[in-house]
């Protein structure tokens, strides 16, 4: 494929400046220590409350970092697919390559913003919390030195990967893929290092009672480290994919040609699919993280689930429900693009009911006190029952079954299987899915009445049954649809506009959710900078009420989108790219 003659090959100067600033801040603590002047505990460098300033900077940095970490992961995967299929299907390969590049489009500008917000965060932290940061530097010294190196390596890879895209085509594509791979490796390392600092503050390890460093390895690999690594890795991909989908939705809505609309429809679909797929694992990654926190200190268990933050988790449950329902709704609307999908569409209302019912259980609070007029003073028996772990596990796993079956239907839509055993095979598939759902339900009910240790085992079995069932039925489905006749090609670009607005909504929701959970993760430490070791003795060291937190989180979300909009405007300056052809529309698309 050939992109236009004016590829955007300018390196935004902001990135360079930010990088220098970043390195300077990283060096600052070393200087401070070297001078060994008495360090004050707190200072107020910004005009606003330091806590608030750090909060905003940290969350913005995290949002951008999540984006620039995640997008290269799936963009590279897509690029790789395209590369592998180049011989078989050059048109398809060109399309994949376009998609990967299009997803990476916001990266350079977003990367500068990551660096700038990171530098800002570093400066604020070191100047507003000197005692804490001195302690962190003492503990993590070597990592503070390594971090910028990987950061620079990531930067170089990113800019080369993005700007050398067109040059490294054809026979040199492998070099480009390699560059992308390096970018991802460096990016992941950068995140893992930063995660070590963040989790050390929650679940310190590798230090003695007084907080003096015993083993740097133990401090890095503290109890919370791996769970957070896993959780963030997956969540970042969901996050990046939804933002790409929202970008595609915007381009779809403002598209002038059908070819453009078709491509961006496809891009939005892909983004949503990636998001939905990764979202399936998130609840479990979240439980894993929570589990380690509870194991580290019972205080976390009490704070997060029964105490000050318990309300937050009800909100989280609702917001997650909106994400899942929105993504599923978009997927169901996608059936409209497929001529001949009527049989599949008839089943969707039932899925809708199942999904809504499942999420009602999932979001049910266990202990919600009623107002005095309605109150019997007791927690409601129904809510008490539904609000427990076992019913929620049933709900979550069955929701995943529904989503998976929706996906199977999407695969089937508009296709006529040609294998002889198609009818029997379909029946077996349905029977297996029914069996899977019944087993999950049965296990859950059994677990509900069983003691806690058995209950944990049954919930693990539920997940195993789910995974096993998915694998088996999917293999059957693969063979069943082998060589299936296509009644009509997917009509990309015919997705209703409401579907695009949903994608934009989902992007907003996930950024907001990230902000909310950022507050929860930091807030869970309560009055500690480093849990149990460095106490927060600054004035106003309490948790802001949830309402205030929600306002700040919303403000951060809006700032994030405003900045992303700027990044978007910058990337749009980079010349028009030629569009690849889409199937039978080759003629129109060549324009």
């Amino acid at each position: 494929m050939r992109r236009s003659a004016t590829p955007d090959r300018r390196t935004p100067p902001a990135a360079g400046i930010a990088l220098v600033a970043f390195l300077a801040t990283a060096a600052a603590p070393a200087l401070a220590l070297a001078q060994s002047v008495p360090i004050p505990d707190y200072a107020q460098p910004a005009f606003i409350d330091s806590r608030l300033a750090v909060w905003i900077a940290a969350q913005l940095h995290l949002d951008f970092a999540a984006f620039v970490l995640a997008v290269p992961m799936f963009a590279l995967a897509i690029e790789f697919f395209g590369w592998r299929m180049a011989r078989r299907d050059p048109a398809g390969a060109a399309r994949y390559d376009w998609l990967a590049h299009e997803m990476a489009r916001l990266l350079p500008a977003a990367y500068s913003l990551t660096a700038i917000s990171g530098a800002l965060l570093g400066m604020l932290l070191f100047s507003a919390y000197p005692r804490l940061m001195a302690y962190m530097t003492e503990t993590f010294g070597p990592t503070f030195a390594i971090y910028p190196l990987f950061f620079v390596a990531e930067t170089l890879c990113l800019y080369f990967w993005y700007y050398a895209w067109d040059r490294l085509q054809g026979r040199r594509k492998w070099a480009h893929i390699l560059l992308g791979l390096l970018l991802n490796i460096f990016g992941t390392i950068v995140m893992f290092i930063a995660n070590a600092w963040a989790t050390f503050m929650m679940t310190p390890g590798g230090v003695d009672e007084a907080g003096a460093l015993v083993s740097l390895y133990g401090a890095i690999w503290n109890p919370g480290w791996m769970p957070l690594n896993v959780h963030r890795l997956i969540a970042n991909i969901t996050f990046g994919a939804l933002l790409c989908a929202a970008y595609a939705a915007y381009r779809f809505l403002s598209a002038r040609t059908e070819a453009e609309r078709a491509l961006y429809d496809w891009m939005g679909y892909t983004g949503n699919l990636i998001a939905l797929f990764t979202m399936l694992f998130l609840p479990f990654a979240g439980y894993y993280f929570g589990f380690e926190l509870f194991a580290y200190s019972a205080t976390y268990g009490v704070t997060l689930m029964g105490g000050v933050l318990s309300w937050l988790f009800i909100i989280q449950a609702i917001v997650i429900a909106i994400l899942f329902i929105g993504a599923a709704y978009y997927a169901w609307l996608g059936l409209l693009r497929i001529p001949g999908s009527e049989p599949q569409r008839r089943l969707v209302p039932a899925f809708n009911v199942a999904l809504i019912a499942g999420f009602m259980v999932w979001a049910t609070p266990h202990s919600m006190a009623a107002s005095i007029e309605e109150s019997t003073g007791q927690f409601h028996p129904l809510l008490g029952a539904l609000g427990l772990m076992a019913p929620k596990m049933i709900a979550v796993t069955l929701i995943l079954v529904v989503l998976y079956v929706s996906y199977l239907l999407y695969r089937r839509a508009g296709k006529v299987p040609v294998v002889a055993w198609a009818a029997t095979g379909t029946r077996i598939e349905w029977a297996l899915i029914a069996l899977m759902a019944a087993t999950i339900l049965g296990l859950g009910i059994y677990g509900y009445f069983a003691p806690a240790d058995v209950r944990i085992k049954t919930s693990i079995w539920q997940i195993l049954v789910l995974i096993g069932g998915i694998v088996v039925t999917f293999v059957i489905d693969l063979y069943l649809l082998r060589g299936a006749r296509t009644q009509a090609a997917v009509r990309w670009g015919t997705m209703p506009r409401r579907g695009q607005y949903i994608l934009i909504l989902l992007a907003f929701v996930i950024v907001w959710l990230m902000g909310l959970m950022g507050y929860a993760r930091s807030g869970a430490r309560l009055n500690w900078h480093v849990f149990g070791l460095v106490e927060d003795t600054s004035p106003g060291a309490g948790l802001p009420p949830l309402g205030d937190a929600a306002i700040v989180v919303t403000a951060i979300t809006l700032i994030f989108f405003a900045l992303l909009g700027v990044a978007f405007a910058i990337s749009a300056l980079g010349g028009r790219a030629g569009l690849p052809a889409f199937g039978d529309r080759a003629g129109e698309a060549a324009a």
């Binding site: 409209l336 107002s371 007791q378």
Partner: protein
Amino acid sequence: MNAGSGKTNHRWLPLPVGAALIVIAAFVALKAVRPVIPHSVILLYMGFIVLGTVIHITLEDTRIRRFWNFFLSHPGEGGWPKLQRLAVLALLPAAAGWWAYDSVRPTYAPPVEIFQRHPTVGEATLARIVVPPWAAAPANWRDSDIAAGKTLYTANCVVCHGERLDGAGPAAAGFRYPIRPANFRDAGTIGQLTLPYVYWRLTVGGIQNQFNSAMPRWVAAPGDANASSLHSNDLTPDEAWQVILFLYRETGYTPRAE
């Protein structure tokens, strides 16, 4: 309107009427459950139900068309469709009006309190609480301590927490706001807590700034100068541990590991 949508309009139940009926039915059903489901939870459930309804209607373009068509008058339609239309149209302002009225009408209720089941306590506070060796491991609990705990429980706690430890003692109904005495058989109470935490609950009771309930304070916190002026502090620390062991043994729960 084209022939197709015209025909669908003559279905037995027009789409908007069906949607309205589902939402109303769900609301009435939730309101009818006894004991009463808290208002905020009903709101939550209704949000989901309305969302599901909107999704259902907007899944297909034809359904959206049917939905809007219902609100247009068609030449030659009878009085029945017209009546349904008016009814659905009247519903929205009526609901909005009720909502407005409901939120401004005077009530005697204090604001809804989000009761924290397990108020947060600092790690340092818990670390100061030392579990005596004889109480630490459930396997080593002595029957004599459990028996002593039972006596203490019957004397001090039954009035509120009930003979069967289910939170239904004779005095329980008197303490319904913000929360009744705890039902120890519920999986959400002592089964979730560590021994020091439960002990802490006994030593602070419910009457303090952090949270409010009728739960008295049973043991003086060490060095608490005005302890006795606030509460009776009937139990010695050992007695408190005995009651706690009894709570666990009687309900079959084990304390959460620290």
